[in-house]
């Protein structure tokens, strides 16, 4: 690795997205942070296998995901409550999205099969491309695309049922705003 490349700085810069991804897998901040800690130590230990200039974010997400599935999956999903994913972080929604019903959305997200939820979070929220998501999940790109599509269709269906029955933005926002957080 060349001069000027600080593995420590690289890891530090990727802690926020790693935490967000870990939260989406674990559903609880304490477990998510334990997972991130293990992933950072794991990444540090095998930093020689990382090639500078390649996609460190996808590499780190792969470590997070593999650790989660090999060690934490069973326990985490068992203890997850119905509000599950992200619940602790979202009691106060971001101001620009104050009119959106995050509670309902989170519940809808939790009804998705794990592989679909993971795919839509990677592609729809973390900013990963389909190709990067496929690399992280160790499956073909087509599989990721179909998981994302199925997840979107299911979420749309659930959001329609929960009140968003008009496609117009004003009607949609109004119907959602009337629902209590």
């Amino acid at each position: 690795m060349g001069e000027g490349f600080s593995f420590k700085k690289e890891l530090l810069a990727h802690v926020p997205p790693m935490r967000a991804f870990a939260m989406s897998l674990c559903g609880r901040v304490d477990l998510a942070d334990d997972l991130v800690q293990d992933a950072l130590m794991n990444a540090w230990a095998k930093q020689e296998s990382f090639q500078a200039g390649t996609n460190i974010k996808a590499w780190l997400f792969t470590i997070v995901r593999n650790l989660f599935y090999s060690r934490m999956r069973k326990r985490d999903r068992e203890v997850q409550d119905t509000d599950g994913v992200f619940s602790e972080r979202l009691s106060v929604p971001p101001s620009q999205n104050a009119n959106l019903d995050l509670q309902d959305f989170r519940k809808a997200l939790n009804t998705l099969p794990e592989d679909q939820r993971e795919a839509i979070i990677l592609v729809g929220a973390s900013g990963m491309t389909y190709e990067e998501a496929a690399e992280i999940c160790n499956c073909p790109v087509g599989t990721i695309k179909s998981r994302v599509n199925r997840a979107r269709n299911k979420l749309e269906e659930l959001l329609m049922v929960s009140g968003a029955d008009d496609y117009g933005p004003d009607a949609l926002n109004a119907s959602i705003t009337q629902r209590a957080f």
């Binding site: 972080r89 979202l90 900013g127």
Partner: protein, 63 residues
């Protein structure tokens, strides 16, 4: 690699563009709420320790 913003490309989104946008917005709001939090102390400490341990080891090898 340049990070691409998520694309609204699925067929179902074209039919129901507002709901599709709404889903993207909600996903990003959830994810972003965690991502925007400051880095917890424990990770700063951990990386400092890992880095310090490595430096200590390499200077031992050098002498």
């Amino acid at each position: 690699m340049i990070k691409q913003p998520p694309k609204e490309s699925s067929g179902s989104l074209d039919k129901r563009p507002n709901v599709g946008r709404q889903i993207n917005g909600l996903l990003q709001a959830m994810y972003g709420a965690v991502e925007k939090e400051p880095i917890p102390e424990r990770f700063l400490d951990l990386l400092e320790k890992l880095d310090a341990a490595e430096h200590a080891q390499s200077s031992k090898h050098a002498s």
